[in-house]
């Protein structure tokens, strides 16, 4: 993968400092969790079920409030300030496991919506960009269909295009392929691969270890809300430092 990126640690676009998150229960979902992601970097997050991967992503775009700690995205602190929160939501795109397309809108209008309402683009501008994005995810001829008329893989590609329409600085993927039939996983991973190649900053939660190894610049292993270990692709998989990481990798590989 030959892409232009700044050396690690130089230009963090995501800076997460010692965040804690507890759900009523109480369940400690994130426990003193810190990590940074550089501009153009692809960070893959792995870990057992319930380790807090989704919670971490949801905190990044303000879907969940942290109890303590700091999140700074592109220099903007994600704090109480409503304006800043809105700004961050616009800078951070998210793709969900269950697609969450708007079922009452056509594919094109799904992608138009935020461009029109949030970016205040004209109808024509939005339309053009939507069609461009659809082309990019290989669905140019599906513009006027409704989500329920598409396969799972196609729906997820539309969801990616919809998130890209906001021209986010960061894209979050929460198990984007977990709800898909095996034969459709490839087409979605291809789109994600393309994004990575073009230098999009991505935080990806996935169980696709082949994809993780191939596309990631860095892998983070989480357990019980904590960062156990992080490392670069090949090294991480072949020589994990921690015992827990070894055990986990042995289980899933």
């Amino acid at each position: 993968m030959n892409k232009q990126k700044t050396p690690a640690g130089n230009d963090p676009i995501i800076d997460v400092r010692r965040i804690c998150k507890t759900y009523p229960g109480p369940v400690i979902a994130l426990d003193d969790f810190s990590i940074t992601v550089d501009r153009g970097e692809v960070l893959v997050v792995i870990g057992p079920s319930g380790s807090g991967k989704s919670t971490f992503l949801r905190c990044l775009n303000g879907l969940e409030e942290v109890d303590s700690g700091e999140i700074i995205i592109d220099g903007i602190p994600l704090d109480e300030d409503e304006k800043k929160r809105l700004q961050i939501r616009r800078e951070v795109g998210m793709v969900f496991q269950s697609f969450n397309l708007f079922p009452h809108l056509t594919v094109r209008k799904n992608i138009d919506l935020a461009q029109r309402l949030v970016r205040k683009k004209s109808r024509i501008e939005a339309l053009e960009f939507s069609l461009h994005l659809l082309d990019q995810v290989g669905l140019a001829d599906m513009a006027d269909r409704y989500p329920h008329q598409l396969s799972g893989g196609q729906q997820q590609r539309v969801a990616i295009a919809r998130a890209l329409a906001m021209m986010p600085a960061v894209m979050l993927f929460d198990e984007a392929t977990s709800a898909l039939d095996p034969e459709m996983i490839g087409e979605v991973l291809d789109v994600m691969r393309g994004l990575a190649r073009r230098g999009m900053t991505m935080v990806v939660v996935t169980h696709e270890m082949g994809f993780a190894r191939e596309v990631s610049d860095r892998i983070a292993f989480m357990e019980e809300g904590r960062l156990v270990e992080e490392g670069c692709g090949e090294v991480f998989f072949s020589h994990p430092e921690r015992l827990r990481t070894k055990e986990f990798l042995r289980q899933i590989l």
């Binding site: 969450n100 708007f102 935020a114």
Partner: protein, 282 residues
């Protein structure tokens, strides 16, 4: 609220009748059915006729059309019953609009993040649902109307709107919460604000769950509107009472008034069913 009878028709008798009629029956059996139906109808008619005879009641059906319409110097003029019907329709129409507004506002208040807002909505709902409509009408008429300086018609519309609005708000609220949480999250992730999320994402999806029961609610509103005759609003019921007081045509007038309500309610129920099937297939 008097939903029980409407439910009985819509949930049990109506479909049962349909199933019954749709069964493929040989020609002869169908005629037997029709004959049975006419027999039952005739028996009912006979009972009413005999009952009224024993009361010494003299039927005067011939004077009823005059209360519906009169022809005066070549012009068709509406009679008091038709005038009452128009008032009933007017009250129902305005109350329907206003109750939908009230219902929507209260539903949003209940779903809002504001504790005070939720509390206010709960107080409103519990008060309305746990006091008789008649008492609410009297309260508005004797207490609030003089203070606010509003007329009887406005009082009637307000009372009905606040009453039905409580039920409408529950319908609207359940329609809104039935929209999957993923829709909120997707809107949030795209940076939509709360207003746009409701307007462009949530409401268009909730409306198909909301409209059918709201249309049924309109039938209740129509029937409940009869209660405004107690504050001397000259609606269908009040006109009926007035005519009876003058003419003692008790049976004929109540039969006529009931038949008009029945026809209106059936038409609205039919519309509700149409709305339901429309939104289920759409």
């Amino acid at each position: 609220m008097s939903t029980a009878d409407r439910c009985a028709w819509r949930l049990e008798i109506g479909p049962a009748l349909l199933v019954y009629m749709k069964k493929r029956r040989p020609g002869f059996a169908r005629y037997v059915d029709v004959a049975k139906f006419i027999l039952v109808l005739a028996a009912c008619g006979y009972l009413i006729f005999r009952g009224s005879e024993q009361l010494g009641y003299n039927w005067h059906w011939q004077s009823i059309p005059g209360y519906l319409f009169t022809v005066h110097e070549g012009h068709l003029q509406i009679g008091p019953i038709t005038a009452g019907l128009l008032i009933t329709l007017e009250i129902t129409f305005f109350s329907l609009l206003l109750s939908a507004l009230v219902g929507f506002a209260v539903a949003l208040l209940r779903l809002s993040g504001s504790f005070v807002g939720r509390l206010l909505a709960m107080i409103y709902l519990e008060t309305i649902r746990n006091t008789p409509l008649l008492v609410q009408i009297f309260f508005l008429y004797f207490v609030m109307a003089p203070i606010l300086d509003i007329g009887r018609f406005a009082t009637a519309v307000l009372a009905l709107s606040f009453f039905e609005g409580a039920y409408a708000s529950e319908i609207i609220r359940s329609g809104i919460v039935a929209v999957p949480v993923g829709q909120w999250e997707a809107s949030h992730a795209l940076g939509l604000n709360r207003f746009d999320t409701y307007r462009a994402v949530i409401i268009p999806q909730a409306i198909r769950r909301i409209l059918p029961p709201l249309t049924s609610q309109a039938v209740s509103l129509l029937k409940d509107s009869a209660l405004v005759s107690t504050i001397a609003v000259y609606d269908l019921t009040m006109e009926g009472r007035t005519i009876i007081a003058e003419t003692f045509l008790t049976f004929e007038v109540w039969f006529t008034v009931a038949a008009i309500y029945l026809v209106l309610a059936l038409v609205m129920s039919f519309a509700a069913d149409q709305a339901k099937s429309y939104f289920q297939t759409a």
